[in-house]
Amino acid sequence: MTAPAPVPVPSARAILTATGLRKTFGQTLALDHASISLAPGEIVAVMGPSGSGKSTLLHCLAGILRPDQGSVIYQGQDLTTLRDAARSTLRRTQFGFIFQFGQLVPELTCLENVALPLRMERVPRAEANRRATEELQRLAVEDVAGQRPGEISGGQGQRVAVARALVTRPRVIFADEPTGALDSLNGELVLRQLTATARETRASILLVTHEARVAAYSDREIVVRDGRTRDPLTAGAAA
């Protein structure tokens, strides 16, 4: 019954490393010398009060936002130098996303939503549907496959979102307050299934949350405060 010991990850082994990220929105400094590193299969929680820059850090790491300074290296490639199309391809093939809500396409059924990333990768329809169904089964929401996101509960919707994030077998899953809109029970269900599947497929998870109970599913945590990252271990060493 011992938890995996939180080990600092040497950057050579890391799948995703960001160093010295700086990002401003107008006058507001959202990130300032933020650094983070993610090992394959590792689940890292990013914690911090609201407005601290957690989400901005995630967006920079995922190649959604381009930082003003610093680099984001994914498997040897610097995302900050990639064009939009290349970053889109990475998001499609290597990354998975789970947000608080609203990431499902309301016009498509749940099955179609889950199959969508595969279809965008030109997987034939039958094959895509088969894999999507599997994923829905794994998350125990196969019974809502034919329904639209608007017709199901928040917990089911979030599990469908997890299924969609996992269906392409991404290397890194970005989850931003994935249980923020759910009650404790549903939140727990989603997190358990998400982390279990990630462990099974050796995917890394960057888990942005302000809730300790959610962060408890991680292997280690990074704290963001005023746009700066603090690794508690190094901070502790310094103290």
């Binding site: 019954m1 945590e221 103290a239």
Partner: protein, 186 residues
């Protein structure tokens, strides 16, 4: 405090030997409050005296005398009563942590580091509980959740404290106080 009622509750399932009772207790509650044999028998003796349990049978055998205890009606009523009575809210002021934080500030040490370290420690424990929950049954779930929510509440307090550190520093150090702290430290 409540060990008596806990034993009574466990006995409601059926009469047990003192030894079985300890095992049943350990299975469920030991992580909260470990219990020694001596304590078990002392408690049972007290319950017997108050008529809340009675001896079901005494088996002769090697070693210590083996008595089986059964709960009485008064005992069941006592459990009822206990469960029905709300606990006095525990102010749980984080006495130790509070003292630490205040001290750190007074002495010019980094309270943030202190809080971050504490959080890491809390989270370590929370990870353990989360892990246990994943492998355990329903009872484990309930117990772990209880612990998790408490720990989370601590952490929330920590976060809030961290956010207020600046305000706090201003309150605690009267004019020139900061300098004093630094002097002490130097």
């Amino acid at each position: 405090m409540s060990m008596g009622q806990t034993f009574l509750g466990l006995l409601e399932a059926g009469p047990r030997h003192g030894y079985d009772l300890k095992r049943a207790y350990d299975e469920r509650f030991s992580h909260i409050r470990p219990v020694h044999f001596g304590q078990v028998y002392a408690t049972l003796a007290r319950l017997l005296k108050h008529g809340l349990v009675e001896l079901d049978a005494v088996e002769a055998g090697e070693g210590p005398e083996r008595k089986r205890y059964a709960v009485t009606e008064a005992g069941v009523a006592d459990v009822d009563h206990w469960l029905a009575r709300p606990e006095a809210p525990d102010p749980y002021l984080q006495n130790t942590l509070y003292t630490k934080v205040v001290l750190a500030l007074l002495t010019g040490r980094s309270a943030t580091d202190l809080l971050d370290l504490q959080r890491t420690e809390h989270l370590r424990l929370m990870r353990e509980l989360t892990q246990r929950k994943a492998n355990g049954d329903l009872i484990d779930h309930l117990i772990c959740d209880h612990g998790l929510f408490h720990l989370e509440a601590d952490l929330r307090w920590l976060e809030l404290t961290a956010a207020r550190l600046d305000d706090l520093a201003a309150t605690l150090t009267p004019a020139g106080g900061t300098t004093t702290g630094r002097t002490i430290r130097a």
